[in-house]
């Protein structure tokens, strides 16, 4: 009885969560770890081949380039995502007091996320298409400027922008919800204490957003590391390998070349990188301290 009092409630609250994750997330994770040591291909046979996949990966002529792209892509997109998400949320919750205007702006920024990915990417493609039929080039030709082919000349830039615009809305929503939860009297006190607008942002809003900022940063970092959908649709990793990132490479290996074993090995490398980065961030953000004890015994 006493045992139940102590453990019953956490168990009830956490049970479905743990169960679901254990079966549909944790177990698959173990499976793909095993998979990385097989040479499973389209025949879908679990034949172990030891470290062969990793040896191949090590000798892969493109791997270094891909790693660099991954880094560039993740870092820049992440910065746009978090910083811009923050700016947008502060503008729409603190600067613009008129709720309807804020909502309008937030909605616009959500549009990319709410559109079907293919259509969002098609919009970019239509705009940036290198022929004279691209909207950008149409406009440029009206202004007597030559056509531009951003997708070939700066594929990574386009990839980062397209992903940045989508990612910003993620932070925007979470942050603005969190800002809305800040009690008004804190702003009042800060004003009385002589805070300018900047310092209210810096001293009151941002510290109150510590958890969301930290979460969004870490989560987006991992999301970006593992995401490839928009790149796949936008540039397919090309031209050449110029916008190929590790996760896309894993996808290409697994689902275009049907080398599931190799694809899993690539994914595992990704996971190791993610593990290291997460660990560093966990420390940097002082996550442990943000997990507080219950004040009901």
């Amino acid at each position: 009885m006493l045992f139940f009092r102590k453990w019953g409630f956490p168990a009830v609250m956490l049970g479905p969560f743990i169960l679901l994750i254990a079966i549909f997330f944790f177990l698959p994770v173990i499976l793909i770890t095993i998979l990385a040591f097989t040479n499973m291909d389209s025949a879908m046979q679990w034949t172990f081949n030891g470290l062969a996949n990793f040896q191949r990966l090590f000798h892969d002529p493109n791997i270094l380039e891909i790693l660099t792209h991954t880094l560039v892509y993740v870092v820049f997109t992440l910065v746009i995502n978090v910083i811009f998400g923050l700016i947008l949320s502060i503008i729409t919750t603190y600067f613009i007091q008129k709720e309807s205007v804020s909502l309008f702006i937030r909605t616009i920024w959500m549009l990319p996320r709410m559109s079907p990915p293919v259509v969002y990417i098609l919009l970019w493609l239509w705009f940036l298409d290198s022929s004279q039929y691209g909207v950008l080039n149409s406009i440029r030709s009206l202004l007597h400027m030559g056509p531009q082919a951003l997708l070939t000349t700066h594929p990574m830039l386009v990839v980062i922008l397209a992903n940045g615009v989508i990612g910003a809305s993620y932070g925007m929503i979470i942050f603005s919800s969190a800002i809305k939860s800040i009690p008004q009297d804190l702003y009042q006190a800060a004003k009385v204490d002589g805070s300018s607008t900047w310092s209210i942002i810096y001293e009151i809003i941002i510290p109150s957003l510590r958890w969301p900022i930290m979460f969004v940063t870490m989560w987006q970092l991992l999301s970006l590391l593992t995401s490839y959908e928009y790149i796949l649709l936008l540039t397919k990793g090309g031209p050449l390998h110029e916008s190929e990132v590790l996760s896309l490479y894993s996808f290409h290996s697994a689902f275009q070349n049907f080398e599931f074993g190799y694809g899993s090995a690539v994914a595992l490398v990704l996971v190791v990188i993610a593990l290291i980065l997460s660990f560093v961030m966990w420390k940097v953000f002082g996550m442990n301290k943000m997990i507080k004890n219950s004040r009901i015994d």
């Binding site: 291909d41 389209s42 025949a43 879908m44 191949r56 000798h59 892969d60 002529p61 493109n62 098609l122 493609l125 239509w126 298409d129 290198s130 022929s131 039929y133 691209g134 056509p147 082919a149 997708l151 070939t152 540039t235 397919k236 090309g238 031209p239 050449l240 390998h241 290409h252 689902f255 275009q256 070349n257 049907f258």
Partner: protein
């Protein structure tokens, strides 16, 4: 496997068994499976005659999505024993399907009289490790479209224009001639570009390899082949086009609609297309003024020819990508499925499908169907089947194709010389294909 949707035990003494056969195809051409439904009607009549208490019911499914996803779905559903009995797919999938024991050999179906008059080359496309694993369903060819209006501007007579395909066929008009012609048209300002090809990876690029005499697959060793000499020529060809500014700077980053618009509006003299493009252009507003254009308009303004031979007197080529029926190795009713596949070869069914989707038939009989013969585009291109080539069926070919495409892209963008591109391609192919690759110097 397929399930029996319950035996319909009537009060009648004779219980009638309903057998469900599932058939799946991908893409918009649903007639590929709908024809099977019609064939089932025929089959049922035959079964009745044979006095069997079985009724076949075909359940169809048309997958929409990429070929990769189509393949993936089949693998998974097969493992879950929920796959289709009759799986229609591109012939080039036969390799992995057979290797993975997903499908069964259909050598006996090949022998059936329904398939006795198949264009012989087509059997090549469905043969893997000395067995016939698929039955051709339809095919197409990938001609070069040439703009008649531009040729007229260049001073060509109607006769000259209309006999061009013939000259190509005979090897009189070579790839070099084609390039020169493009150069001329561009220099004179009649067109913006000389040549347009597809913007993304695809079989079209391999037809150029064949044109330069490449071998892509060694059936004996079951290995993909990197024929370095031919590939070098292939790369040089595209490098040359780019250097001469005959293709748009960023062709490989254009989207499909822009390609179609460029071609339909006569901004390019040549276009490496496929016969189905005629159908595409009738579906959307690609023409700046006319919007959608029908087959007649296209034939009035464009001609279609084989890919000109690389050398004078050489063999002009094209490439086909036949669609085939395969039968799952887990099928519970393989015999019925096979009979369906035999019955679906009916010329009328074929012709109906081919005309509505702009494809070519696989049997001679079908090509003689009046409805087919009357088709303005198809009738004119069927001869190309005699010049056609196929992609290898072997596993790993998508990887091969992707690497070659990258190399082409690199030379077109001027980022690599053909030599460097070839070298990189070789390294990459060796790394990813390992012992599945054979390199010919």
């Amino acid at each position: 496997g397929n399930q029996d949707k319950g035996a319909n035990a009537n009060a009648n003494a004779k219980a009638n068994e309903v057998v469900v056969i599932k058939a799946q195809t991908a893409g918009a051409e649903k007639t590929r499976v709908d024809n099977l439904v019609k064939a089932a009607a025929q089959l049922n009549a035959e079964l009745k005659k044979e006095g069997k208490n079985t009724t076949v019911q075909v359940e169809t499914n048309d997958f929409q999505g990429s070929w990769d996803d189509y393949a993936k779905q089949f693998m998974l559903s097969f493992k879950a024993k929920k796959e289709a009995d009759i799986y229609a797919t591109g012939h080039d999938n036969i390799g992995w399907l057979a290797d993975g024991h997903y499908i069964q050999p259909l050598d006996d179906v090949k022998k059936d009289k329904a398939y006795s008059d198949v264009f012989p080359t087509l059997w090549k496309s469905v043969t893997y490790k000395n067995h016939t694993y698929g039955i051709p369903q339809d095919t197409e060819v990938r001609p070069v479209f040439y703009n008649k209006d531009v040729l007229k501007q260049l001073g060509w007579s109607d006769d000259q224009i209309n006999s061009l395909p013939e000259k190509v066929k005979k090897g009189e008009f070579t790839l070099d001639d084609m390039t020169k012609l493009a150069e001329e048209a561009k220099a004179k300002g009649f067109v913006q570009y000389g040549v347009i090809h597809r913007p993304v990876d695809g079989p079209d690029f391999q037809e150029m390899a064949y044109d330069f005499g490449a071998k892509l697959y060694d059936a004996k060793e079951n290995k993909l082949v990197l024929d370095k000499k031919a590939v070098a020529k292939q790369l040089n060809y595209f490098y040359d086009l780019a250097q001469k500014k005959l293709i748009p700077d960023n062709l490989t980053s254009m989207d499909w609609p822009s390609i179609h618009k460029t071609v339909v509006n006569g901004k390019s003299l040549f276009f490496y297309g496929g016969i189905w493009n005629v159908f595409n252009w009738s579906q959307d507003n690609f023409h700046d003024k006319l919007g959608k254009v029908d087959a007649k308009w296209v034939n009035d303004h464009f001609g279609m020819m084989l890919i000109p031979a690389a050398d004078k007197g050489g063999k002009a080529v094209t490439l086909s990508h036949p669609f085939v029926y395969t039968i799952s190795s887990q099928s519970k009713h393989p015999e019925l499925a096979k009979r369906l596949v035999e019955l679906v070869a009916d010329p009328k069914l074929q012709a109906a499908h081919d005309v509505s989707t702009t494809h070519l038939p696989v049997t001679k009989k079908a090509s003689e169907e009046p409805t087919f013969k009357n088709d303005i585009t198809l009738g004119k291109t069927t001869y190309m089947l005699d010049y056609t080539t196929f992609l290898p069926n072997a596993q790993g070919f998508p990887t091969y194709s992707k690497v070659i495409f990258s190399a082409i892209q690199a030379v077109e963008l001027g980022k690599k010389t053909p030599e460097a591109a070839l070298k990189d391609a070789e390294t990459e192919l060796k790394s990813s294909l390992g012992d599945k690759l054979k390199v010919i110097e």
